[in-house]
């Protein structure tokens, strides 16, 4: 009976409102596609002089940016890309094992009440703005880490990546990688913690029932279950590290070479930090060049994130 009342009370405009609302919802869904396309297209248009414009002028711009080290776009962007990937991969390697360790600590080692607090802290740390990591890295970590890197350069200098002498101040790829590792750590930790916690207890009991120690149980049940989650978390972290601007900008002493000498200054630069650094002084054509490098960064992070999500999707299905 109450349904009768309701129908009677429903405003006559209900149908129209229904249609409008539905249209708006569809529109907003489609808008996501439009926005992504717009990001690509606007960058592309603004970078157009780089492709369709006077190549000699382009090359001169690049040459001006780099003090003559590079004199065409690819000669400019490839070392930057190398620097970006180098720093990000290093950061990922450093963060990966530590993050998995923390995630396991929270999911399987710490007592429950402590674990709740810890995961809360990890979530909060993900929220600290990158400019603060940059400030901390530039003013605190750079001087603090020098003795360590110096020791590494003196004792492990025979490994090419640690070739000395260690620069002082340590505004180097090695230090930046450490800061980026700290920044992506919460991402990997919180995602892998979530998936470790979902390990079916039946699997865990099966391992214990066979006489496994705790670590063996983790290897038998938890890690295989969480594998795809770990991979996709790492990819997301990589995507974040690739695009990180401020921390790199505020710490790294930039260079433009294909160098793997992590402890020496002025070796590499990343695309994102380079854009932020060069942007204020760039002329119109210079901005086009920078946006061209930004477009490449966009495409790379797009692919990395796309792959990461595909992995998650597959694992979830």
């Amino acid at each position: 009976m109450s349904s009768q009342d309701k129908t009677a009370l429903a405003p006559t405009g209900g149908k129209t409102a229904d249609k409008v609302f539905r249209g708006v919802a569809y529109g907003c869904g489609i808008l996501i596609l439009v926005v992504l396309a717009a990001v690509f297209l606007f960058l592309f248009f603004r970078a157009w002089p780089l492709i369709g414009g006077d190549q000699a002028a382009n090359n001169e711009t690049v040459s001006n940016f780099t003090g003559g080290k590079a004199n065409n776009f690819w000669g400019y962007v490839l070392p930057l890309l190398f620097g970006t990937v180098l720093v990000s991969i290093l950061a990922l390697i450093i963060a990966f094992f530590v993050s998995i360790g923390i995630a396991l600590f929270i999911s399987h080692y710490a007592p429950k009440n402590i674990a709740t607090g810890l995961s809360y802290v990890v979530d909060l740390l993900a929220a600290i703005p990158s400019v603060i990591y940059g400030l901390w890295g530039g003013l605190i970590l750079v001087p603090a880490i020098y003795p360590f890197w110096d020791w590494v350069a003196n004792h492990l200098g025979w490994i090419p990546i640690f070739a000395g002498p260690a620069a002082n101040p340590q505004r180097t790829v090695g230090t930046v990688a450490v800061v980026l590792a700290v920044m992506v750590l919460p991402i990997i930790t919180s995602m892998s913690r979530d998936i470790f916690l979902q390990t079916p207890s039946l699997q865990q009991e099966a391992a214990y029932g066979l006489g496994a120690t705790k670590w063996e149980m983790i290897k038998l049940a938890v890690i295989p279950f969480g594998k795809s989650g770990i991979v996709s978390a790492s990819m997301l972290a990589l995507g974040r590290a690739l695009g990180e601007t401020m921390a790199v900008l505020m710490i790294l002493s930039p260079g433009l070479s294909y160098s793997i000498k992590l402890l020496q200054a002025s070796q590499s630069q990343t695309i994102a930090a380079n854009i932020a650094a060069q942007y204020p002084e760039a002329n119109d054509l210079g901005v086009s060049v920078l946006i061209g490098t930004g477009l490449i960064l966009f495409l790379i992070t797009f692919v990395v994130n796309f792959v990461a999500r595909k992995i998650t999707e597959k694992a979830g299905a």
Partner: protein
């Protein structure tokens, strides 16, 4: 050969909560002993104290003795990890490791102690365990397929093969057929009957017909009221339990008047 288990004055706690009170039971070697009783009476809990699995729940602990062939499992110098190797366990729902093949599932326990298992040893062991679990003929051509691809009943027998491959003295089964269809249940019951030649078997079951079919001895657990600790009400050989129980509560439970 199987080994006997003697439980003396066992109290089981979760934190401060006394879950099961004063259990005394003698489980014969190479026999099947069934635990029956209404839900919440603690029969699964008692079973899980026999291989110290219940300790995995934070705060759970035990008072009293559990003697495996005279040796107390709860002595200070006993490592729960080695207890669980001597006392195998099969769970309510089949739980093969999803990322492993049938073969690797069987070997999972053995590999813990034998890092470098030769291929021929491994092959023999897999065949032996799968034959022991009546599964060999069904899977011998696809040992490298994932264990998770088998039917429920096959998976459960795979889990039994995995448990016996470590060559335990005792196999504990926690309602092993509750997630299986009748035909798979029959296959597992047949298997249990064969296994008792080599192992002592303790099985928790909700199904009284099953207890009557496969058990040599039956223990009836009960609780006075919800929130009260469970206890062992009556223990007898299966024939007596189901035909002529000398205990009023057990008789009422068996004749279907409660639980």
């Amino acid at each position: 050969m199987g080994q006997r288990i003697d439980v003396n004055h066992e109290n089981i706690y979760y934190g401060d909560f006394l879950a099961v009170e004063d259990v005394n039971i003698n489980i014969e070697a190479n026999k099947v002993t069934a635990f029956i009783g209404p839900s919440g009476c603690g029969k699964s809990t008692v079973l899980r104290t026999l291989d110290r699995m219940h300790e995995l729940i934070p705060g759970a602990h035990v008072e009293g003795e559990v003697l495996l062939e005279g040796k107390n499992l709860y002595d200070k110098d006993v490592d729960p990890v080695s207890v669980r190797r001597d006392v195998g366990m099969v769970f309510q729902r089949p739980n093969p490791f999803p990322t492993m093949s049938i073969r690797e599932n069987v070997l999972a326990g053995v590999r813990l102690n034998n890092k470098h298992l030769s291929k021929s040893d491994a092959d023999d062991l897999v065949e032996w365990a799968l034959r022991g679990a009546n599964l060999w003929n069904e899977v011998k051509d696809r040992l490298d397929n994932p264990g998770i691809g088998l039917s429920g009943g096959q998976q459960q027998r795979l889990c039994i093969a995995r448990a016996v491959a470590v060559h335990p003295q005792v196999v504990l089964m926690d309602e092993p057929c509750s997630a299986l269809d009748p035909i798979s249940t029959l296959a597992v019951e047949d298997l249990i009957n064969e296994l008792k030649d080599d192992y002592t078997i303790v099985i928790v079951t909700h199904n009284m017909q099953q207890a009557a079919r496969i058990a040599d001895y039956t223990a009836f657990f009960n609780l006075k009221a919800v929130g009260q600790p469970g206890h062992l009400e009556y223990f007898a050989d299966t024939t007596t339990m189901f035909n002529n129980p000398q205990n009023e509560e057990a008789e009422r439970y068996i004749s279907g008047r409660f639980g």
